[in-house]
Amino acid sequence: MKVSLNWLKEFVELPADVAALSELLTKAGVEVEGIETRGCTIAKVVVAQILESVPHPNADRLSVCKVAEGGAEPRQIVCGAKNYKVGDKVPLALPGAVMPGDFTIKVGKLRGVESQGMMCSAKELGLAEEAEGLLLLPADSVVGTPLTELFPAETVLDVEVTPNRPDLLCHLGMAREIATLLGKPLHIPEAIRATAGTGSQPTAEITLEAPDACPFYSARRIRGVKVGPSPAWLRAKLESIGIRSINNIVDVTNYVMLELGQPLHAFDLAKLQGGIRVRRAAEGEAFLALDGKTYPLAPRHLVIADQQRAVAIAGVMGGEESGVTEATSDLLLESAYFAPAGIRRTSRELGLSSDSSYRFERGIDLAGVLPASARAVQLILEVAGGEAEPVVSAAGSCVVEEAIVPFRLERCHAVLGAAVPGEQVDRILTGFGLTKAANGWRVPSFRPDLTREIDLIEEIARVIGIEAVPAREQTRFTASSPADQRHDQAMRLRRRLAAPGLGFHEARSLTLISEKAAASFPVGEVRRVRNPLNEDQVVLRPSLIPGLLESLTRNLRAGVRDLRLFELGRIFRADAREERTGLALLLSGAAAPASWRDSKPRPADFFDLKGVLSALALDGVTFEPTTHPALALAVELRRGEAVVGLAGQLTPARARELDATAPVLVAEIDLDLFEAAPPMGRFVELPKFPAVTRDIALLAPADVAHGRIEAVLRGANEPLLVEVELFDVFTDPTGQRIPADQKSVAYALTYRSTGRTLTAEEVAEAHQRLKERLKAELPVSFRE
């Protein structure tokens, strides 16, 4: 909302310092977002008339003019513009004038011809952003008049008005606010005061067919007006806050709206057929609005209609066909109350908003409808002549029961934590137009936001300012929650993964992904939004892996080939749990950073990924081979019977699609299936007796998995065996050293007793038992 300081000054005495006023308002919650100065502020620029213009003797593009500026002699000015003719009036900067950019006009020679000043464009005077040629002034401008008089300096505030304060959407309301903040009186001019108590007369010519959407509608006929340009004062006032002048009638309706906050509309009475119907639009009813566009309407939209057709979208915009034109002589002036919700819906659905709809949808003052009509009539008669009907015709009721809101001073103290003296409270609330009643305050109808005690407390807080409230530092002991434990678990995992050695970078991807991305790594039924912004953000990610794969491609394209990424975040599936926290890893490229030690490290493979997963020390996880459509190698992570994750290597075809040249390894873990708090570490007595390690080397068919061999060893319940470590796997596809369909695997078995030093015999016996066990259960032979 643009607010003119000159306009405000009609109602309240303002501080001289605009910055201080702006600070005052901002601190009270009426944020000033910008301060603009308009008009001309440059001294020694006057109206001049061009008396003659001849070509410059030495320059094709210049002219030499003689101009009158009110002095004894005409002045000679060299000029480059072409957009004038002799007789035009233009601004002339006299020697000594200081122009924007701090340059001073002097008498000087231009290409050998003396120039005694400068004729100016609107841009050069700071009156416009852009300008072509000289600023041509109205013919009735008086030669010699300073431009500062013709374009008086005007300061305009750009104010952000919060949606709960419709009363501030006019100059009177803004002035009332400022007066209260400054502790100064509000001065309401006699002409406005005279409109208070304006009555109306019920009429059958107006029918309210949707009283919930329009509880009160008034109309007043004014006959014999002369439509034409507005007088200078009216035009200047509107233009100062960026409203284009249309004609004297429309300008008055806008003026009253900006003064008092009531949107008004003037119809050409001759274009109306019979009485006014405030009705719901018919399904599919088309309406040609003042903006020249046709809007398709529906019954949820309210229209103003005559007996034939709609003439306005109620509270939003009038019709092209019934508007005031130069030919209009009789008017019907509408002043009404439209319910906010309906206007908001209509405006939003039609994509059409106006100064009028902006105010109605926030709520106007029902009690102000008739006074605003009277105020407009005053002004129309003043600027356009004519004769108004003696009374306003109306339908519905504009009687407002002013509510009494209870208020307790001690409650105010309890909420604010600051004691505000009763007299100060009285001064503040009275300033805002409230009146003290028994046990509370009577609230004027222009403050629909004040309905409860807390609303009044807020007004006091705004005015005393937060500075008046002492900050209190006081805590309360709070037990940690499951969410605390989950956060700590997540941070532990993040720190471990990001630490040097594992060296993963944390990714944070968007939760909404494309159908294609979701389908690229299927993990279950997905949830979608029904109103996506674009096709890239449709599905709530069922897995973190699609996001990591997208990041992989982006990094590869940026030239980063060795990638270790993880993401820890929410994933979504259409199942009973719906939302869960996942941890996903992506590993691709060199297994270790290349350096002068090793300039070509091997590419990471599945076992590097498995190593990382093991390093996360996820309690009790085992790996079981499985299959997945996107993975060439895949294992399930299990805890007992529960599947808690998936890990593997992307199919080479998919990896190529992503531009990857090295294996792409991915894993995802469902963190919700792990306890958030790690079990407290328990000390195990350190061994007192030495261990003995014996190796075992065996030859087995290639399809006998290490896991089976290890399971046999561990499952043998050999009491002295404390560790089984695989230390060599050897195959020879040529079949020269061992048969091509066999493999050689070697284990180091460690034996120890907690009670004594083992003898060689004991160890040999145990070792032999294990070998026999292996031989009995698996098709293996030993290589000694």
């Binding site: 309890a414 605390d484 996506p532 982006r554 990094n555 719906e578």
Partner: protein, 343 residues
């Protein structure tokens, strides 16, 4: 004669051994010398065998000579060995280019948003807040109705909110967690709720359709605006340094009253003398308590007995400013060249 001969022999062997040691160039040569003179069949050992044939008178003297010779040779071997080791060690560790780079380890980093989030959480924990969370997919009641935002409120429409086909939505604010917490627990509650929120905004350099918020709620007897002010000031002072200036500017939110926007000035923000709008806060609107009581079917949140404050702010914009990031999309693109800057 024999004795004299032996004395001479001992002396000679000793001289020979020491000479051989002096020319022994490595540990193998040294070992050969040891075997030759001190080994079981070495020259000095063999001489010792000859002791048996000596008279009682000569034995002690010759024995002494032999021992001295043995000790001298073995001492010389040890000395020579130490010298050779020292020489070898010095050789092995000389001429190394100490300016070569260290062997690199893979290095990672926690995302800058997570780092900021965790820092914020630690500060609130210092003040005695516990974490709370709730789902991203929410009901309209939790996101709007419970927060005094009626169906015709401008914040509540298809254009600004992502809806699911079943009528639920993606939460537009983490305030939903306040609601879930109050549904579950009677006062006092003192929580913060970090999490992702969604707005149906076109993505550009300063907007994402999804961002990270942190929300706080404290409801108890006797909570005042002064407590809110103290909490907000402490938080930003801890986060941004003691030079921070906090301005609470009255504003309007449906779920708090009085409400404030929080503007910050701090050297850490590098914005010169400009206020930066970073957060919203206020005293919980009694209407929120009343709606909660209606839902709970009790009067646990009696607005006459309890007051509370709530606050919320976005982390992405704060991280942008603190980290000097010009385009918010960098936070979601996971470019390792960007992430690596936060090691």
């Amino acid at each position: 004669m024999v004795v004299f001969h032996m004395d001479q022999q001992i002396e000679q062997l000793r001289a020979e051994a020491l000479a051989a040691l002096a020319s022994a160039g490595d540990e193998a040569a040294l070992e050969a010398v040891r075997v030759k003179f001190l080994g079981r069949t070495g020259s000095i050992s063999v001489l010792s065998e000859g002791m048996k044939s000596l008279s009682k008178d000569d034995k002690p003297r010759v024995g002494k000579l032999l021992n001295e010779a043995r000790n001298a040779v073995s001492g010389a071997i040890d000395a020579r060995k130490a010298a050779l080791e020292a020489e070898r060690d010095a050789k092995a560790l000389s001429g190394i280019d100490l300016t070569l780079p260290g062997t690199p380890l893979p290095m990672g980093a926690i995302h800058p948003i997570t780092q900021l989030l965790d820092r914020a959480i630690q500060i609130f924990r210092q003040m005695g807040f516990a974490l709370a969370d709730g789902p991203d997919i929410e009901t309209e009641w939790h996101c709007f109705d419970a927060l005094n935002t009626p169906p015709d409120h401008p914040a509540r429409n298809e254009q600004d909110t992502f809806y699911l086909p079943d009528g639920r939505l993606l939460r537009t604010q983490t305030s939903t967690v306040q609601v879930r917490t109050m549904e579950q627990f009677a006062p006092p509650v003192r929580i913060i709720a970090p999490g992702g929120v969604y707005r149906r905004d076109e993505v550009d350099a300063t907007h994402l359709a999804q961002f990270t918020q942190i929300e706080g709620l404290y409801v108890d007897e006797g909570v005042t605006l002064g407590d809110l002010k103290g909490t907000i000031e402490y938080f930003f002072r801890e986060l941004l340094g003691r030079d921070v200036q906090v301005r609470m500017r009255p504003h309007f939110f449906p779920f708090t009253e009085p409400s404030f926007e929080i503007d910050i000035k701090a050297a850490a923000l590098g914005r010169g003398d400009r206020w930066l709008e970073l957060a919203g806060c206020g005293m919980v609107d009694p209407a929120v308590f009343q709606e909660m009581n209606r839902k709970r079917g009790d009067n646990a949140y009696d607005p006459e007995k309890y007051t509370g404050f709530a606050f919320g702010f976005g982390l992405d914009r704060l991280a942008m400013i603190l980290n000097g990031v010009s385009d918010i999309r960098l936070f979601t693109e996971n470019d390792v060249r960007f992430l690596a800057q936060y090691r």
